[in-house]
């Protein structure tokens, strides 16, 4: 098992990583209690790779993902995406970064309940530069027939696929998924993972998937094991399994 991050599989000369995190810490101060969610994370991610982030609950995975996505800033350390410095506490710059580069998929979908599937996607396409149409994005996740349904009229898996459509519709360079299958049964989960893998493959989107589920690690280029606020080790899979081959 390689200890350090290695280049992505397809490119021969080592390219510059697209994400570069060094010595990241994040401390939450809640009254008396001090929670160290991250305690010195060094991590490089490369363009186009699919990384699975594995780790026990409370180990800081979401915290890291949020920082990579510009939803939160670290307490100390540096993190860079391409030429963006993600440690700056500048709301406007962060908003701009998220708007232009990042797609999120959340564990609880976070769809806007008052908007239909199509409108939830449109919400994002309307503010991006070169998006797909909401219809294309929904077709990509196999939901073209349910376009005009409200979230409350869809199953969890369908909602999660809408959330993915929403995340990828703007053709982001980065797709960050926080336990996208956490609330789904195995069969639906596989369907959702297939979509993520396809987007990664077809659009070349750098993708990070957080999960508790070790089985899912098999579909990644690299697997980052997380524990107690730190990277424990990084595995490189010799070959990626297709999502459809997974089962749990």
């Amino acid at each position: 098992m390689p200890e350090q991050a290695s280049p992505p599989p397809l490119s021969a000369p080592a390219p510059r990583p697209i994400f570069e995190a060094r010595g990241l810490t994040k401390v939450y101060q809640m009254g008396e209690v001090r929670v160290e969610a991250l305690r010195g994370v060094d991590l490089d991610l490369y363009a186009g790779e699919l990384v699975v982030l594995l780790g026990p609950s409370g180990s800081g995975k979401s915290t890291l993902l949020n920082i990579l996505g510009g939803l939160d800033t670290p307490t100390s350390g540096t993190v860079r995406y391409a030429e963006h410095d993600l440690t700056v506490d500048d709301d406007a710059a962060m908003t701009q970064y998220r708007r232009e580069h990042v797609g999120f998929v959340f564990q609880f979908y976070n769809l806007i309940p008052s908007l239909t599937a199509r409108e939830n996607v449109a919400l994002v396409t309307e503010i991006s530069q070169n998006p797909m149409t909401p219809e294309e994005a929904l077709a990509l996740v196999g939901l073209a027939p349910r376009m005009d349904h409200f979230p409350s009229q869809m199953s969890g898996g369908e909602q999660q696929r809408v959330a993915i459509a929403r995340a990828v519709a703007k053709r982001p360079q980065v797709l960050l998924c926080d336990e996208p299958t956490g609330a789904l049964d195995a069969q639906t989960g596989v369907m959702v993972l297939e979509v993520i893998a396809r987007v990664n493959r077809e659009l070349g989107t750098t993708t990070v998937v957080i999960t508790h589920n070790a089985v899912i690690a098999a579909m990644a280029d690299r697997v980052v094991h997380f524990g107690d606020g730190q990277v424990v080790r990084i595995e490189r899979n010799a070959s990626r399994k297709a999502a459809s081959e997974l089962s749990w």
């Binding site: 979401s62 915290t63 949020n66 996505g69 939803l71 939160d72 800033t73 709301d91 406007a92 908003t95 701009q96 998220r98 708007r99 232009e100 990042v102 797609g103 999120f104 959340f106 609880f108 976070n110 769809l111 806007i112 309940p113 008052s114 908007l115 409108e119 939830n120 449109a122 919400l123 994002v124 309307e126 503010i127 991006s128 929403r166």
Partner: protein, 787 residues
């Protein structure tokens, strides 16, 4: 439409009940503001135009008799633009359709200058032809009251001679926008009117041919009115001048001005209250909405919507609610404004009313609404938007509860679990609970303000006409008359009791303050006319010194024992000092009193009277009228019952309007506050309540937990609201202190009961509306969704 705007519409639809409740409150605020201000604007504009177009004079004076040659000397005073000499006389009328005595003020019209000062606005017919002593123009309200048309005839006693007069026209004049019989507080067009006759004819009737007894002047721009008045006084004093006065002291103008100022105060009081409530409601509703949507806010931000966009999103929502309130309120305000102006047009005689909605008024109202709405919202939205999205995505920590003070007092064991939940919930957000109480209390208070005028006026009338002024009829003589005239009156059949009085027109001075009024000399120990102290006990008339109405005391800034200067405006116009013996309580008018004999001594005259108050046998009233009309010296007769009736008729309409409007508004506020609180409680605690249902609580029990809180707040609010209402009534009463009448604050038990009932019913209805939702609480859905 953009997706984010769709969300807006759907959110709005989802919260439509609350949105409507808030929009209604905004509507009331804008409505009252537009109503008051557009009425005020309309009346002011009408007043201005009317005064200008009909050349309302700026300085007035009355005198006994001066030759026309004086005119040129007056005209030579610098600053005077125009001089009009007139003949003005009180006359008695004999109306064919009406047995009771009727009096009028007869004013001369310049025969040669049709565009003189105080021009007539003819409503029908024409002006009298020069020299025609039998032609008059009568004031429109008088004509209406007696259904007079050009060509109709009636008789008048001019200078003791009975004379037939033909109505050639009906008209209004800027000088008589309010037509009050001297000494009366309410218009009575059936018994008092104004009419106009050619100058020459009227002069001849009163032996004033080539002479005049009244002056109207207009000034050049920038002229110093006081300087003109002083110079005019110097010229007319030798001719029995009673002291010139500026427009601001002209009765019709003065009353109108005071009334409009009052209206201006009300125009700020009510809208301010409504806007306060609207701001509060928007704050709680939007805070709650944003809290509920904090994950949505986080999601929007995660996908690249900036803080500005998020805040704009919610502000748009608020703007739509406030905006519909503004639109509705403007329409409501115009509608109510028409109604209110209509009422004013009954009290004040304008030839037209230029009612128009001022853009500025609407903009101000809209500005205030949006500001209130924005203020109520921005903080809540800002708090949500400024959270980092990662933070906002996490569920809110469970609310912190504490034991309440009430529980700590040791009565905890008496309280059931549900009751403890209620108390802790109230306690958790003390500010919000307090504001809810305040909102409900305001509703309660507003009802009192709407009804108090009725109670108060009833009380005023009782005191004034029941305890102080208790005669059946009052008779005024054309001029001071020997005391024995009292016995002539007493001898008439049907008269049970007579009390004589002497009225002397004066200008009272204290330091730099002065006021024109009359001193009434009254018989001591009288029973028909009594003076009351502040406790409403009859005051014995001191044998020396002046008693005056407390309001006059305030105007002149005098207390018992102070010395004042009395400038008599009659006879040879002596200037004397007098001592203020004390102040008396009177709600109407601005009079001063002396013992009759003392006043005669003060005037250096023998026993003289100006009129008398009569108690009569009502069975013989008709015959008595006829005899009184026949008496040559009687200038006018006023009947007390009629005064009261007139007043009530006028008041009823006004009061009904205010009662109605304030009740509807109070219901809206009460409903807006209570319903919104209940709805918010329901969203905040839906899960909790559903869990309780799952645990086996009945609908009634969870209904109690949810609505019990509002019940308690309502019960706390009611006594507070009654106190608040009293305070508002005092404030309004304070603004209604005019020379015409002062308003005490009197509230009868029924009014309190009504206010309480309205609030309770509104609370009940809001409770029921929410209770219906509570019954349909979806247990599964509530428990399933992630918090």
């Amino acid at each position: 439409m953009r997706a984010i705007d769709r969300k807006l519409w759907r959110d709005l639809w989802h919260m439509r009940g609350q949105a409507v409740a808030i929009a209604l409150v905004v509507m009331c605020g804008v409505g009252t503001y537009v109503m008051f201000l557009s009425t005020l604007g309309a009346l002011r504009a009408t007043q201005d135009d009317y005064y200008r177009e009909y050349r309302f004079a700026e300085v007035f004076a009355t005198l006994k008799r001066a030759p026309e040659s004086l005119r040129a000397r007056i005209a030579a005073i610098p600053g005077i633009e125009r001089v009009e000499t007139r003949v003005v006389e009180p006359v008695r009328l004999d109306m064919p359709d009406f047995p009771e005595p009727v009096s009028a003020r007869m004013v001369s019209l310049a025969d040669d200058a049709p565009h003189g000062l105080n021009g007539l606005h003819l409503r029908a017919g024409r002006l009298p032809l020069p020299g025609r002593a039998d032609e008059v123009v009568v004031s429109t309200p008088f004509a209406k009251a007696h259904t007079l048309h050009p060509g109709d005839r009636f008789h008048a006693i001019l200078n003791g001679r009975r004379q037939a007069l033909t109505v050639v026209g009906t008209a209004l004049s800027p000088e008589f926008v309010q037509q009050l019989r001297p000494g009366s507080a309410f218009p009575d067009p059936k018994r008092y009117g104004v009419m106009w006759m050619g100058r020459k004819a009227l002069g001849q009737a009163y032996d004033l041919d080539g002479a005049f007894n009244d002056l109207a002047l207009s000034l050049r721009p920038g002229a110093d009115a006081q300087d003109v008045i002083d110079r005019v006084d110097a010229l007319i004093t030798p001719f029995g001048g009673l002291g010139a006065y500026a427009r601001k002291d002209q009765l019709s103008h003065r009353f109108l001005t005071q009334e409009l100022d009052q209206l201006g105060t009300l125009a700020t009081l009510f809208p301010t209250m409504f806007m306060g409530v609207a701001a509060f409601l928007l704050n709680v509703v939007i805070s709650r909405l944003v809290t509920m949507q904090r994950e949505q806010v986080a999601t929007l931000k995660a996908f690249g919507y900036g803080n500005g966009a998020v805040i704009a999103h919610y502000l748009k929502l608020v703007a739509m609610i406030a905006g519909s309130g503004v639109l509705g309120g403007t329409a409501l305000g115009v509608w109510l404004g028409y109604a209110l102006s209509g009422i004013y047009m009954e009290f004040y005689y304008f030839p037209w009313l230029r009612f128009s909605l001022q853009t500025q008024t609407v903009l101000e109202a809209a500005g205030a609404s949006f500001a209130a709405a924005g203020a109520g919202t921005v903080v809540a939205v800002w708090r949500a938007a400024s959270l980092s999205p990662a933070q906002a995505m996490r569920p809110e920590p469970p609310p912190r509860y504490r034991e309440t003070l009430v529980e700590k007092l040791g009565i905890k064991r008496w309280l059931s679990q549900p009751t403890r939940m209620i108390l802790r919930h109230i306690w958790r957000k003390p500010l919000k609970s307090a504001l809810t109480v305040l909102g409900i209390a305001l509703a309660c208070g507003i009802i009192l303000t709407g009804l108090f005028q009725r109670d108060t006026v009833g009380y005023m009338m009782n005191v004034h006409y029941g305890m102080a002024q208790r005669e059946d009829l009052s008779v005024a003589f054309t001029e001071p008359t020997a005391y024995r005239a009292r016995f002539d009156l007493a001898g008439l059949p049907g008269i049970e009791h007579v009390e004589a009085f002497r009225s002397v027109p004066v200008r009272l001075r204290h330091g730099h303050l002065d006021y024109r009024t009359t001193i009434r000399g009254i018989e001591p120990h009288g029973d028909l006319q009594r003076l009351l102290d502040t406790e409403l006990r009859p005051v014995a008339m001191p044998s020396d010194g002046i008693l005056m109405t407390d309001h006059l005391g305030k105007i002149l800034d005098v207390r018992a024992g102070d010395r004042i200067v009395v400038e008599v405006l009659e006879g040879n116009r002596p200037l004397r000092e007098a001592v203020v013996a004390g102040l008396v309580k009177e709600y109407l008018g601005v009079a001063a009193y002396m013992d009759l004999a003392a006043l005669n001594r003060f005037m250096h005259e023998g026993p003289t009277i100006s009129g008398a108050w009569l108690a009569v046998d009502h069975a013989q009233l008709q015959g008595l009228y006829a005899r009184l009309k026949g008496l040559p010296r009687v200038a006018g007769v006023a009947e007390r019952v009629q005064e009261i009736r007139n007043f009530n008729r006028l008041m009823d309409e006004t009061m009904l309007f205010f009662t109605y409007v304030s009740t509807v508004f109070a219901v809206i506020i009460a409903f807006g506050v209570i319903y919104n609180s209940a709805r918010i409680a329901l969203t905040e605690r839906g899960r909790e309540l559903a869990s309780l249902r799952v645990l086996g609580f009945t609908r009634g029990e969870i209904g109690y937990i949810l609505l019990g809180e509002l019940g308690i707040l309502t019960l706390v609010a009611i006594p507070l609201g009654l106190k608040l209402g009293e305070a508002m009534c005092y404030y309004i009463a304070q603004t209604m202190q005019t020379d015409l009448f002062r308003v005490p604050v009197v509230l009868v038990p029924q009014t309190y009961a009504f206010a309480v009932a309205v609030v309770l019913i509104s609370a009940l209805l809001s409770g029921l509306a929410v209770r219906r939702r509570l019954d349909r609480l979806d247990l599964i859905a509530v428990l399933k969704t992630p918090e």
